[in-house]
Symmetry: C2
Subunit: 478 residues, 2 copies
């Protein structure tokens, strides 16, 4: 069966596809508010129904009460294992059916759970769908569901013969506690997958399709330097005892060398170096540092970072140490002459493949211990860890996704990364060893998490076509 | 007339002296609470009456409404100018008649304004007087008032023929706003004095009389480093824009060199070097750094400070830079991945003679400006300034005070300094050019500002005798 038939089916049935998405958007699956619990179950069951209609086996996996401090929301687990003659890799598709709360409700132009089609003004031709969850993430998941349905209806085989495991969670907007525990518990079962696919990111702009193939990990710590057992008067003690604020500043200042490289021994040991092909491709993206800095009120000379790397490379491909908070002594209005008993800082590291968060934290705490100021002691706290996740540039799956998006849009998609961290992708890497390909169709102005969230129908269409073509590429992979 | 007659008079009339002090202590002159306003006036008038009884001309100087944000309390101004044949220097005696609030009232063993004589247990023989203000500062001022009275009664001349200006304020415990303004307004009149005398400090211990002849000044600033015009996500911006916390830490860490000397150019230019005689004397005081550090939970190796100076010298004779507070970013529980728009610190300098606070602040801000991190800008705030005040070790007045206390106690008093700042003494220096001699009779366990404040009668006696003898010494000075 030809992929063209599948694409034709999508074209011919687009109105029905949109209507199906609208049905899902009418279910107010706000995960953060316990009052919406019944809607969560309905939203999960709706998705399970769609997956079954596309020929997959689907079940609802309830949250184990042991997995979280509060009642969790169910997951949807589906598999195309019923089909014969699997071809290509085994793909784990991840998405989420929960949405953000709607506040401030008074800024919505209409009921956030009464989806409407509106003109795509002022920025583009075409139409858009406006509702909470339109793009994050129901609309994006729907592009995949419609591609599956098209393959079943017009292609004649469930998921085009590709082995899929589909996992949709209902807590992405409120901490993902359940799925994190589930990944650990279901390690053996899910670990058989080859690669992960997520549609929850964006394009580089209108008409600029993009695949995100890497993100940074995170190691977040807090350090507290203790000196005297009480606050001291700076007149009677200043200059003859350690002031933990000054001592902390002196230690923190050593975190970077003059080239703004992190000085912790071993910090860069596991860093995967940038491939020349990546540097070349990124240089062509037309990213304008001065323009980006101007948007946040900074002059061009504020483009500072690790020597030897560009503005974009520093975010996408290099690890960094940041102080996210600092405290100690008196911070109120006016003056108080105190030498405090302690001072602390939140110190986090953004990590890149193949750095391991726990190893970095251990190295950092060792480095700190070697710099303990005289008469002081450190208290160290580990707040969170998330693995970096980067698909290798020569991955055949990445190449397949790229071909699919090009065929779908007529434009070769750019391969981009993000300096942010997506905890679930880090967990797919740390728990299951899976790299993640982010094939996302959102735009910067989609107002995710804000009133009047929307998804352009052009983007919806591109998403469904891309997924249909990606399935085709995967099925024909060696 | 011999000074012995004056001392004999003090001995013979001690019960009356104590009764007079008790009368004063019964007036609840709590300056911080506006409800006590009528008592403030009574307490000031009581002191004026005592000064008149000792032969001085005394007046009440009301607070000028223009001088403060809230209604001020009156000052008492008295002068011995009525006497003929002045001898010796013109001395400005300063004290305060206001007291701290009594809270927590439930911890007082009796009414704080119903003074009582109690045994001086468990620490010593003799008796003590217990009441709010017993030592801080009514009791100490009373030792001077009784010495004046004795000179009038038994010596036959007002103030022993010494030219005194007595200035008592009623706002020492709540900011001294009125007197600070008054000093500026009455500069010409008070500037004719030669030296200032204050009894509001302590001895080195029981039986260890001390004269404090110097204290540190203060320059208190706040600096804020601004970067982007909003808080940034550390994933998207970390490593490619300045993080004001890290940049601030890097600048602050440069405030001291490896010898813990302040690195601001010119910082030490006006510092009066320690005299060998001072170093020798202080070394003999028996101050035990390890014991003092142990009291605040620090090990002996926490004795850190400017190289080349001892524990005591660092506090008493060396200037220092301290960070009294630091803030920026997220300081709540857990983790937040923010790069804040700004970070700030409270930076103060304890100064020694002859450093000038305004000059130090100017040097510091210049130093900061030379270290402005790329893309950032400084906001600088001056919070307060106070001059250091140190009497020269070869001052004849200091020598006279020393002889007087030795004659009064039989023990050569130790000459000490304090690392703290007494703003009014700084103002006597900055406004009037006066050095201050602190002849104080308090003990560490007097519980000033706390429930059950007390003053040992032994100390009261020593105070009155010392003042009587000091007047004698001054009258016979060249």
């Amino acid at each position: 069966m030809s992929v063209q038939a599948v694409l034709d089916w999508l074209d011919a049935h687009e109105s029905e596809s949109i209507e199906r998405l609208k049905d899902w958007l009418r279910i107010p699956s706000v995960s953060a508010d316990p009052e919406y619990q019944p809607h969560m179950i309905r939203a999960a069951e709706w998705a399970a129904g769609q997956l079954r209609a596309a020929g997959l086996k689907a079940e609802i996996v309830p949250a184990d009460p042991k997995w979280g401090a509060r009642p969790g929301h169910p997951m949807v687990l589906a598999t195309s294992e019923g089909a014969a003659n699997y071809r290509g890799p085994h793909v784990l598709f991840y998405g989420h059916y929960d949405v953000q709360p709607v506040d401030p409700i008074e800024l919505w132009e209409r009921d956030p759970f009464d989806p409407a089609i509106a003109p795509a003004t002022p920025n583009g031709p075409g139409e858009r769908i406006v509702a909470r969850g339109a793009v994050d993430d129901k609309g994006q998941v729907a592009t995949f569901l419609e591609a599956l349905r098209a393959w079943k209806e017009a292609g004649g085989t469930t998921a085009g013969g590709v082995k899929f495991t589909v996992l949709l969670e209902g807590e992405e907007e409120c901490g993902s506690e359940t799925i994190e525990k589930y990944l650990h518990a279901a390690k053996d079962r899910l670990g058989a997958c080859d690669v992960c696919l997520i549609s929850d990111t964006g394009m580089l702009g209108r008409g600029r399709p993009a695949i995100t193939y890497g993100l940074r990990g995170m190691a977040y710590t807090e350090i507290v330097l203790h000196a005297a057992d009480r606050d001291l008067h700076s007149g009677l003690w200043g200059g003859k005892t350690p002031n933990p604020i000054g001592e902390l500043a002196k230690v923190l200042a050593q975190l970077w060398d003059v080239d703004r490289r992190v000085t912790i021994p071993g910090f860069y040991d596991d860093v995967r170096e940038l491939a020349p092909v990546e540097r070349e491709a990124w240089a062509k993206l037309g990213i304008d540092p001065a323009a980006m800095l101007a948007k946040i009120g900074l002059p061009p000379e504020a483009s500072v970072g690790e020597a030897g790397y560009t503005f974009t490379e520093r975010e996408w491909a290099r690890p960094t140490a940041e102080i996210n908070g600092i405290y100690g002594g008196y911070a109120g209005p006016g003056a108080k002459t105190v030498i405090p008993a302690k001072a602390g800082a939140k110190v986090s590291f953004r990590l890149v493949a193949d750095q391991v968060p726990s190893k970095i934290i251990k190295q950092f705490f060792k480095w700190l211990g070697e710099r303990t100021p005289a008469g002081c002691r450190w208290e160290t706290i580990e707040h969170s860890q998330g693995w970096p996740a980067t698909v290798a540039t020569d991955s055949p799956h990445l190449a397949a996704a790229r071909r699919a998006m090009k065929a779908a849009s007529g434009v070769d998609p750019v391969l981009i990364k993000t300096g942010g961290s997506i905890p679930i992708a880090g967990s797919f890497k740390s728990e299951l060893g899976l790299d993640t390909i982010f094939m996302g169709f959102g735009l910067d102005d989609d107002r995710i998490h804000s009133p009047n969230e929307k998804f352009e129908l052009d983007c919806f269409r591109l998403g469904a076509r891309s997924h249909a073509l990606f399935i085709h590429e995967l099925a024909n992979a060696k």
